[in-house]
Subunit: 422 residues, 2 copies
Amino acid sequence: MSKEKTNQGVEILCVGTELLLGTILNSNAKWIAEKLALLGVNHYRQSVIGDNHERLKSIICEASNRSRVVITTGGLGPTPDDLTTEAIASAFNSKLFFRQEIWEDIKNKFKSNLVIPNNNKKQAEFPLGAHIIPNQLGTAPGMIWTPKENFTVITFPGVPSEMKKMWEQTIKAWFHKNYPSGNIFISKTMKFTGISESSLVQKIPDLLEKKNPTVAPYASLGEVKLRITAKSKSIKEANHLIAPFENEIQKRCGFYFFGNDEQTLPSIIIDLLRKRRETLSVAESCTGGGLAAALTAIPGSSDVFLGGVIAYNNSIKQRVLEVPFELIDKHGAVSEAVARAMAKGVRKIFQSDWAISITGIAGPTGNTLTKKIGLVELCLEGHNFNKSIQENFHSHKVRSDIQKLSVLKALDKLRLSLLNSS
Amino acid sequence: MSKEKTNQGVEILCVGTELLLGTILNSNAKWIAEKLALLGVNHYRQSVIGDNHERLKSIICEASNRSRVVITTGGLGPTPDDLTTEAIASAFNSKLFFRQEIWEDIKNKFKSNLVIPNNNKKQAEFPLGAHIIPNQLGTAPGMIWTPKENFTVITFPGVPSEMKKMWEQTIKAWFHKNYPSGNIFISKTMKFTGISESSLVQKIPDLLEKKNPTVAPYASLGEVKLRITAKSKSIKEANHLIAPFENEIQKRCGFYFFGNDEQTLPSIIIDLLRKRRETLSVAESCTGGGLAAALTAIPGSSDVFLGGVIAYNNSIKQRVLEVPFELIDKHGAVSEAVARAMAKGVRKIFQSDWAISITGIAGPTGNTLTKKIGLVELCLEGHNFNKSIQENFHSHKVRSDIQKLSVLKALDKLRLSLLNSS
């Protein structure tokens, strides 16, 4: 085991019984891990421990023998359950000392309340020599303390917004100064849809074996991501390493690729339509507003997205969208003919350039002999343009997944149509 | 430090460099932690370690000296990065042996593919004496292995769906048989809206100090939860401990309380309307389908939710919802008068018993001198019923939060109106 490496390492220690009970997700560890990776800091271990003095003290002792830095979150509050600072101090046989200036600051934060709980006094107690990390958003400051040579402990409150602000204002600079790693890690994420993870991976087996940058696939519902991560001395150099990989992947994967990093299918659609100065409306049955909500989640979408009709009920399909009764009667509400009439209807009402309609069986009820749960009919309507798509998202999928997949499929089909007609 | 206690404990060890890079949230640890709590099993520590043979081996050795059981996730795949089984074996100086029957099973799973990767062969290798946990959903079986007295290691793949299925089918029973704890933990969650966490907590300071059951508050956007957790010998006894707390909290908190556990505001609304045999439609501007999507997420909502109109654009408000131009011109699109006309309009089109309208400024653009980002006008319309509500969700909130809070507020106002008129 490479000792010298480990002793240069950083650990994350999250304190809180609620994490051991599985009440909350450990989003703090993920956030800090990501920040450390971007700083190029080695990070070998994460731990979670409960609000227990002896166990906390013991894990701090352990960590101080194998790592250079331990970053803790949680246990800085005013209640008797909050034990992080005192357990750390006792791990190094140190006492806590009351600091008047911190107490004044805490009292100021209670301005509006008449009674200042005496409990909060413990939040002003720190070991000698500890450097304070101010907390603008709450009453719990953190500390940077070096109790012995080559070991520093950094404490944060467990409230994510407070921890993040304190990190950005103080810790980032501390790492840059005290922990020059020489390397940084920069990642770029490429997003794909309409293709399975295994099929995508088969297009790039050689790239998946490269060491710098590395390429790693991640699949989620209706989407596959490739994360390209470069290790280098500078952001510029990292981007220089990433660019040829990105080009090569795009070349091999074609239209399955739809965007990078923060881009989403709805944001891509809004951008494409805005460039074309065209508008969109939607008619939704089984997705019940999910398509519209995905589009309106994008700031500024009102430029191009006019709105839509949620026609969950057949009589609404007839009365509002003017779907002829005969079509529903003859083909059923989930049919190409009805999807097409819905798209035509909503496009007429909203006078939009484009319209999307979705009608399907999202389950858990609605299964029939000929039409199973997961059957979805989509239609795109434009100027002299009409495209019908039948999809079958298997019936073992849950309602919310069928709804989400239908929305993604509709957006992707419109994306492809817009790219093909430009 | 109470040694005998710790040696009875269980640890969770999640293996994967992607966790150390902060690429993904550790949802497996949360899920297993929650399951252990329900089984009443003591659980003192969680760790995350990368795909590194020496570090994995070292943490397994450590854990075997302080805990009774270690549950691992991840590192069971076919690639060279997947090292969990071999690192565990080497921690106890054991070798791996190929098991033909597992290999046959893995090959069967590749039925549809022509070439079976030889890589997968390592997924059929286990230490002597390891009991196999079958994996119906994937190619990576887990194991239950007791390499030394009073220490068992249980391995799972990192894919959540596979791990969960394996847990339910095998591990639950194993814990019941091998790990009788005497006590179980049962939780009930009560949900509140329209009240802040601090105001809610002020109503029950005495209950928050109780030891069995305990009461813990958790706040999220637009909602506060109280989790009541009882420790007892049986589910019946636990429920008996919880019931008086539940009643007392409900008595003190009144209508702020809206539901338990899996219930949501949309599910409560659907249930209330179904009981009354009444229907609902919606007209949405700034929430753009979010209200409708929240309602249609509930299975069976089509009984009562007829649909709606997303009128993101003023001309649509006029043309589809028949909002008079003069109202928009005089009061603006975000006004009580327009919200009321939208609700009336949609209720007329859909011929529903109830209608909700929402119009507001979700940002990040749209701020004016008199109407700021975060201003939202809601209206409820029913038979001889009309209620207008103005809300001001501050402009420092992001677009998605303003949209979500508007949806929750609209649903809560309808809930209160339904409860008051029943």
